[in-house]
Symmetry: C2
Subunit: 319 residues, 2 copies
């Protein structure tokens, strides 16, 4: 086709995915090179730094105003580290390994000099650099997956970790299991003619917050069919075309958010009352006020979320 | 932006995903409405038809030249049906339910009057309609997931199926688990200047076949970062921009293939010898010969695969 450009070199920014929270991980994972020795080798390397997790929270050193998630091995000695369940995340460009490690010390041990934070608090309430937040996301997801696969789903016997925490194997029946990543479709539904978008309030949302509709992609669905099904089930709105926009890792515990713009073909709303407390169309001005934090009536999801990205990019790209 | 079109109404075809194998499932899944009674209610409905599975193969009635995967309940009576592990797939537009059901009869029972086929054979070697192939894909994936989650990964005790096979619950520890869908990135790497693409031969590929590179998206990765990592690890080639093209359900056992075009920034190949038997650049003429089945030296993946779609759409869209 004449004038057809395969890669959109004129896009307002190069890649929307890079602008979402948790996307800053630049570790070299060496995924194809993982062996039974990878973790032990990494533990011996100079410059090793460890991300420590207490249950489903990341441990930060907390001194004066400074929060620091990177531990040298000796700094963990009295927090009851659990090296049998460590996971090798990857390597920094300078060769330093990064490892995620559960620590088993009692909660009271962290009362002074430490702070424990969830993945959500990590991106929302700290100003840690994007790379560290991305590395911690990988730790949250992998440790959670390992902890939920201690026993074999096929025969019920204990499984053992393999190749640095990226595989689990059942010595009893031979079953092998790999880390889980759950794709979720999240969609900004656009009424092009009226220049408005569909937003909803989940029944458990914070007061006043409205966001894009979303739902797990099911086995044996295309992304596009999942988008049409979710929107129809949640709002009664029919969707035509679907345009991929961005993806985001969401480590609560291991989702892959797939963000799209969806062409609305019908405009009457029949809300799924079990899922949504409200669902309605928002004008460009209303969305702009939400993104600019000027709106009293409705709040956008936090900056860094893919929902915020979809809403603000729709404003910018179609202005 | 002036002239900016959010939805590509001039695309050569409306949605590449719809043109891949296993994408034709049009069942109404009623995903948000599933309850503990859904399966029992569906079993009582008129017009119920069942897809039967023996291990990891679909059972087809085979009479003369006709293959038929739809069983009325009475037709399964002497194949040892296992209704405790049935899964409700959804409803046809006319209200008929579709259920996937394991049957436990010995393999020899299927020697006459039946045919057992894998998911791969289903799309490649039969001419069943796309809707049925898509429904069977859902059955393959859900039955496999249920069979691999008989025991609880957290405590090792038996789990029980819930809401028609879309949830499993552990009565011992309360753990709840949902069906698994594994996102895989599959990419056609394009050298725009030389008008050629990168294809590889997996070490277990059929003789002469070359395809797009591919790999599982890992926890805490964006789609785009997974594409760059996979291509770098498998071929040593650096990738810049990534353009989403299509997705495909792949029920072996429950993948979501996410197909993209990837902008090559480097052109020397350092092949991962453990993964790939060969990896090289193919000119437009070579790819065209593969797609047109005129090539002796190299074969394309079967029609219906997302790799075939990426290759043929690259030919058509950039001609």
């Amino acid at each position: 086709m004449k004038g057809f450009s395969l890669f959109d070199h004129d896009a307002p920014h190069p890649e929307a995915s890079q602008l979402t929270a948790f996307a800053g991980n630049e570790l070299n994972r060496l995924a194809e090179a993982r062996t039974e020795e990878s973790l032990a080798e990494a533990l011996k390397r100079d410059g090793l730094h460890i991300l420590a997790f207490s249950g489903n929270r990341l441990v930060l050193k907390h001194e004066e105003q400074v929060l620091d998630p990177l531990f040298a091995p000796y700094e963990l000695a009295d927090l009851a580290p659990d090296p049998d369940n460590a996971v090798l995340l990857g390597y920094k460009a300078n060769g330093e390994p990064r490892i995620a490690l559960p620590v088993l010390a009692e909660e009271s041990r962290f009362a002074q000099g430490y702070k424990l934070i969830t993945a959500r608090e990590l991106y929302r309430d700290t100003d840690l650099e994007a790379e560290l937040i991305g590395e911690a996301a990988q730790g949250f997801s992998l440790l959670h997956w390992n902890s939920e696969n201690r026993f074999c789903g096929s025969c019920g016997q204990p499984m053992q970790p393999r190749i640095g925490g990226y595989k689990r194997e059942c010595p009893a029946c031979g079953r092998i299991s790999f880390p889980r990543t759950d794709p979720v479709a999240i969609m900004l539904c656009v009424d092009e003619k009226e220049d408005r978008v569909l937003l909803g309030r989940g029944v458990h949302f914070p007061e006043g917050m409205y966001s894009c509709l979303a739902g797990f992609i099911e086995p044996a669905e295309t992304i596009e069919n999942a988008v049409r099904r979710e929107v129809l089930e949640e709002s009664g709105t029919r969707i035509g075309r679907v345009r991929y926009h961005a993806s985001q890792p969401w480590p609560v515990p291991h989702q892959l958010m797939i963000g799209v713009l969806a062409e609305a073909l019908s405009f009457e709303i029949t809300r799924d009352e079990a899922e949504l407390a409200d669902c309605r169309w928002f004008s460009r001005d209303e969305v702009k006020a939400m993104i600019d934090l000027r709106s009293e009536a409705a709040k956008a999801p936090a900056k860094g979320t893919i929902a915020h990205r979809l809403m603000s990019d729709w404003l910018d790209w179609t202005a």
